[in-house]
Point group: C2
Chain length 382, copies 2
Amino acid sequence: MNARNAIDDERWMRQALALAESVMYITAPNPRVACLIVRDGQLLASGATQVAGGPHAEVMALRQAAGRGLDAAGATVYVTLEPCSHYGRTPPCADALIAARPARVVVAMRDPNPLVGGQGIAKLRAAGIEVTTMVCAAQALALNPGFVARMTRKTPWLWLKLAASLDGRIALDNGQSQWITGPAARADGHHWRARSCVVLTGSGTVRADDPQMNVRHVDTARPPAKAIIDTRFEVDENARIFDGTKTWVFTKLSDKAKAARLADRNVQVVEMPASGGRVDLPSVMRWLGEHEVNEVHVEAGSRLSGALLQAQCVDELLVYTAPVLLGPGMGMACLPALEDLAQAQRFEFIDTQSVAPDLRLRARHIERWKALLQTVQTGNIE
Amino acid sequence: MNARNAIDDERWMRQALALAESVMYITAPNPRVACLIVRDGQLLASGATQVAGGPHAEVMALRQAAGRGLDAAGATVYVTLEPCSHYGRTPPCADALIAARPARVVVAMRDPNPLVGGQGIAKLRAAGIEVTTMVCAAQALALNPGFVARMTRKTPWLWLKLAASLDGRIALDNGQSQWITGPAARADGHHWRARSCVVLTGSGTVRADDPQMNVRHVDTARPPAKAIIDTRFEVDENARIFDGTKTWVFTKLSDKAKAARLADRNVQVVEMPASGGRVDLPSVMRWLGEHEVNEVHVEAGSRLSGALLQAQCVDELLVYTAPVLLGPGMGMACLPALEDLAQAQRFEFIDTQSVAPDLRLRARHIERWKALLQTVQTGNIE
């Protein structure tokens, strides 16, 4: 009999979550998942989800156990996401687990995929396996907010990266913005690009800075796509951002010849409905969700940042703050004046990290996070 | 023989520094100092400086030892500041220590008081006592930056308290500023008022908010003085800030009748030279230094905050940041536009603290801190 107390369960699940973090950059559009097989307080085997099309975490762990001449019969299996019950790119993990006959399966969070939605857990129980759920659910969600967002609300999880002075300036009045924050903050930013499915910017930033918007300082086998909001399709075809990586240009105007030329550089021009004279941003988010984008990393000027905030598209703020006051300059986000403080969108600080000499502050949209947490916590699964 | 290795010395000194913190609010204009008497790895007695005119830390510790029937002969004494060698309000602590005949005295930092300046240490050595210096000097300075600043550069240590949104707004365009940050941040701010010698604000803030600028939420037997920068002496005599606590009004205009009426409320009106049409702020800082002010806590509007920054009077930023973006609004500090980022005054983050839902960020002026650290570290004392 395995130790079944909640402290042990939480300890093993935290170890599983740490393992799932190790595949942060490679699993998209699949979620980052890990699985541990434990017996009598000993770890028999572990595994994490591989690149899309490759084996899921449960199968990796069962294979490792088999490779060691061990099996999972009677053991406890910890998995950071409900085992899948459907045929996707791979066969259902719930079936693989049932075949391995563990005594118990501990699941961090329910699979928000409507094709699974509690059925993986139900299948295990129907096979006589004890299932414990909701162990470290919030931490498990924090690993995969984009996957959960895409499965439930049909749009990705979006974070807005900002690099600013303590008084909220992203550039001087004369336009100088390189560099308010230091090399450590910039390198850290590349980790966030690397974990995203797409790095999104605006045509104004492409024009002003001609950025590459690629991943440097981080090894990744799966570079994120790039995307540009370019209402009037004015982007320079020779901009450095077009480096052969899959790139989407969202625009409200069509120019077939220009689009065809860009197609040769792996650029897809997508016509979008307009609202208020510019590309409708919620439509872009839905389009990205339909195209298997889990997480969007935004690095843009204050106009696009402000427009995304106003369109209620920003789920998280990723702010690098430099210990300096600049006075006049460009603000973080162009927003309309509020009449009352109570009208402001509320975020909550979730993490503070030194990236000396700067600080990295993360803040999450309170309501949108709560909505996701509810979808992975509730349901007819107990 | 006592253990003399550096790790032990540092451990005891940290304990002494923690004890010195316990008298944070009461010792001004004296520094916060603590003293431990240790023999064979055991703490015999300890003491911390009392209110001004009361005994210093060394005397408190020696008295406690005597009260326990113990003496310091042959022991090691840890003291967070060089023992004084002069007659001030009390007799020299160096003499008291010499009479107690410890084998060794460990000193965190040199006394910046020109009346001491290494002579306390010299006296101990001349009496045959071994002295070790510079143990945790930076931490010791951090407890008393104001005392050291006043003794060396003749002006207090000044921190600027700011409460702002993530995008650096201290108020909406319509003037609404209560409350961008929450109750925990406001309560924390009162600890910083309590440790200061004077809470400084501007006449604009007094007119706009009619603040009390007193200490609440913190028990203190020594309320700080208050001060107002009021160039044209326009302050309302019935403002709530005039509550009988010692208050200074710095102005460039005189109005003897008004000054006389305010004197009845413990208000001293001080005429100051002007520069650029307003009260010269470096002159105010020198005046405060002459009047035994160690630490200045500033809560003001963006005009006075900006003027203090421009006048190179701000040693530290104490920023409470709310997880919200406000867009248009009043900035943290009115400053002239920079031509180049390199012109900005550089601070360094020294502490980040959650005051949920907000964050407290502290940043220290790099050069001015280094200058103080040098004065307590160097000198003819080894």
